[in-house]
Subunit: 238 residues, 6 copies
């Protein structure tokens, strides 16, 4: 039995709110159960050095947690003067995942920065960030096309992410914090709308996982991501 | 005429939402027009070195802005590796303002940290932070008293803050971003419920201000803060 | 009775020595009682990015204390690898105060940096820095005009600063360290030669201050600054 | 055809040299083709704060590249003053991988730090680091047991790692730099001697990968790691 | 002919002012021609970790330059967030030189920190710092003995320093900035009152120096340091 | 009797291996007894700001130690976020020593960076670095000449370095770690092939050294460096 009473293949309640803040070109609040992340997409008419003069744009991400988004207050990274290894790992993952669906040539020489800031954490903040950031990016791209700055849609696919894991011997979908702290294997999966993988990051905690367990987890992830992609589309049409 | 059509002595719409996030001992979303700040109060059972063994507690504050809380994206302080002078100045102001109403002996040897994170900025983020942080602090203190950890109420007064300034030659209350960017004098006032001053920080931008102008501004501030303190009380009883 | 035996409205002995060091365009040692600050003005033929191509110059300030300028040795900020919040707050205040009297267009596209380094501290280092920096700036501007690099005097006013506070219930002028450590309210006032305010920063320590107390303090400050401006003029003519 | 003329399921030449430097409790030079990494294991009789008093030890890793281990000189992280996100990601991976095979209770309250320093890079430095670090760790553990400081062998399994990827449409084992720079999918796999997974990190570069491709890659990885584990055992007996 | 008209073996005018600032246990302004350095000795009743419980004290030094002590303004190390390699090299040299004359056991478990801050630079700031710091240290030690905290004089010798170099082919004593910028060899010599060497740091700039040149330089240095030690003694008796 | 049984004027076994790693323009492993340093020379077609447009090139050095190159593990400078004063002092010494033998005009507007990374330390790492770096630099320069990028040989002399010291009252050549930790005077000497000095850095540890001792040490150093230069030449012809 899961602490949340969910079935093994059941997502938490997902809510996607667009236009959450007023300044950003795309601004989304994504809520996955008690996990809440503000994802904004900011467009800037410049590119990093390695893209200068290339005709191509760039998509990047930054991630942060409010100090008291968690059960115990974490120290503020800005005050400590550096981002933790975990933060950097997560923001690199978000950036790669979003770049996987963008035709940088069609985007043109501009940068879209996806800021994912966790307001409240209850497990799965990195996967919620990716799922929400795709919606914010879609809004930013739509704005660029409406302004005529971008001619062809640079978004090639939808992309969403979910965690899966083995909790008390049972493969489950969408781990919350209680499950995450006590599970044997934790896998984050990033997938396109067409079911192909963009990222798979599985980590054994406690005991290593077999090939069969991995197969089951990948199926569960696909089951969840298919639903998430549908929710993204619905939100974007809303 | 003010850009927002407000009267010269009119506050923006204020909304104070308690219990905004679930982990913190006190958690408030304060909205002053389009300025939105999450203020959380976190209690930790330890004190900084200069208070160790003193029998007294400590109250401190940290301040941050989400990178895209503003019209143009600001770089993330955690990524730059340091907090700006402005950030430090603001968080020191918030900390002093809240300490002014706390009897640290009654609080006991523990620390309350007030994190004020700006979700959306439209002027007046530091004063909104102080007004909201007082409500979060009140909730945290109430929880400590309910748990029996604190015997007597350490809060001596209510405290709230507002900005005033001279916009196009006219003294006005509660400047929004448009007014703030274009005003001659900007003054932040922190005041107790009894009308006494905790902090007055006035800065001439453009032209210096006379003693008469200063008097008018202080009256306007008192007029605004009286209303804010009433709203805090109403929220705390809600 | 004040520890220094001064009357409530009496400044400490002030001494302003120009040409204190040989390299800087303006170099002043200001002594206010036992507080001693070296203020230098350095001219550089470049401006920060936000002024490039604007035809306007820039005036900025940096502040530091020698590690043993104080009763107990403070750690060296260069060794710690960052400037404290207090240091940044003070240097921002000095910079704003001096910019308030400079016509940046007449200065032309160059930067004047005012370095205020405290050799010995006995309270009031930030206000002494402002008062001394104005003299150093005047010397630097005079040199620029003599060289023909600046045509019209960009200095619009004199500017000076003083602290006032409530010590043992009595409003007093120009607090020294003993008074400052033990006062209820501390206010730093920056004023033009014509009596208009550039900055007012009042902080209640211990108990909040009333409107009447504030009025008295502002009068005391004006009384002191009028004398300081006269001393600056005398030094500049000396 | 692979640039190195290797077959699609062929490892590069592997050489493991123990006792490579004289000070460390375990010191290994691992060469995988032209990739060369020095892996040392250092034992210290202390643990990080979260393990103090727990009776358990800790295993951690640090990773670095000599500035000219690569085709173009990279700037030295010590001189830049921070480790890149990539470095942190890799050293976290190495640490988790090694901890997966250690019974921290049997290790006792001490820390083993695995330093993996790349002398020459030609792709696959993180997987070579894991494979080599296991041998260094084995030597350090053997020394602890010989000294009687550790009673029971805390190593539960062998662990090794390899990269696999899709190069020009073909799944291949053990990518070198030329292949890595030009492949569509890159997956790092960390596996126990018994064939169970410790870490799987797959990243689509260019185009997303299907479930079938993933299955093939995992088989290839298993094929390679089986050989690597045999080489580790042989080296340890040598 | 030297730019300053001095003879090849002539020191600049030296002035040593004790009790220059009021807070430090030892405070000296040393002037060597136009080079002016404030040297303070601060006593703290604690030692660094490697001396804890040893019964021995510690002597250390820090060095800094005011930003406009030089012809062109240097950026402030506190603002840049790190001390340059040159600064660290100099403060390590000052610390070693002073420790060479202190019996750390007789000093007892306390630390004396020598802060050498350059107010005005004209060459030879590191050697002036050492010569001045010895006087400040002597005053601090005398105070400790007078208070009965130290029983026996821990100072074993006097120590002073000077630079020598080859300027336009001629070995000269005590280089000023003009000579230093244009000399072929620069040597800093730290010597005890008895003529033995504590530090010799010779650097060829331009062309390497022969054994004969080195001999001449060492003689010149001894000639200068003998005079400096006499001036220190005279100042300490003054 | 020396711990290593060497005679007082005997070098340790020296081995110089060229082409040690494959990417760098010059790559040398130098072994002096148990001290092992990888010295690489990297050529970049750019110069630092102070050389831009000068027609001259630049030669610089960086130094590092692997964390477990020493008896006890040192913390990694990249992880600590800064290079120690010792590291900076050493890399500045290496850079100056190599620049002393390069005609920067003949090198042309390019930079050669010498990275000296200590794999195993047993005393004398800085002098081994200089001796090895000269060989790496020679290889890099030869490559530039072969490619026709440099017309005339910019290397004016050979340069090598050695330490000497007074160990148990006896002047000895080439101190190893055991001697270095227990000697009274330690001197590092950098010398050209023609016997002229580039750098002399002597430090008294314990007791100051006399002029006679210094003379003896310089003779010993010359004796050692003459042999080192011969070994460099032999390696370069090998």
């Amino acid at each position: 039995m899961r602490p949340s009473q969910r079935k093994h293949d059941q997502l938490r309640a997902i809510r996607i709110t667009r236009h959450y803040t007023k300044h950003a070109e795309g601004s989304v609040l994504i809520e996955c159960g008690d996990t809440k992340v503000i994802c904004t997409a900011s467009v800037e008419e410049r590119v990093p050095p390695h893209k200068k003069g290339s005709g191509e744009g760039w998509v990047t991400a930054e991630y942060g947690m409010l100090p008291r988004s968690t059960g115990e207050r974490m120290s503020r990274e800005a005050a400590k003067g550096k981002q933790s290894g975990r933060t950097q790992e997560i923001q690199r993952l978000i950036g790669r995942s979003l770049r996987a669906v963008v035709d940088l040539g069609k985007l043109g020489e501009r940068t879209v920065t996806l800021d994912c800031d966790v307001i409240q954490a209850d497990g799965g903040t990195r996967t919620a960030s990716i799922t929400g950031a795709f919606v914010a990016l879609s809004d930013a791209v739509a704005a660029l096309m409406q302004q005529g700055l971008v001619k062809e849609n640079p978004l090639k696919h939808a992309v969403a992410a979910i965690s899966v894991g083995i909790y008390q011997g049972i493969p489950v979908l969408d781990l919350d914090y209680l499950e995450d702290s006590d599970c044997d294997t934790d896998m984050n999966v990033v997938m396109l709308g067409n079911g192909h993988f963009v990222e798979v990051q599985g980590t054994a905690e406690g005991h290593a996982f077999s090939r069969e367990e991995m197969d089951t987890l990948l199926e569960l992830a696909k089951h969840g991501i298919t639903q998430l992609v549908a929710m993204q589309q619905k939100a974007l049409q809303g």
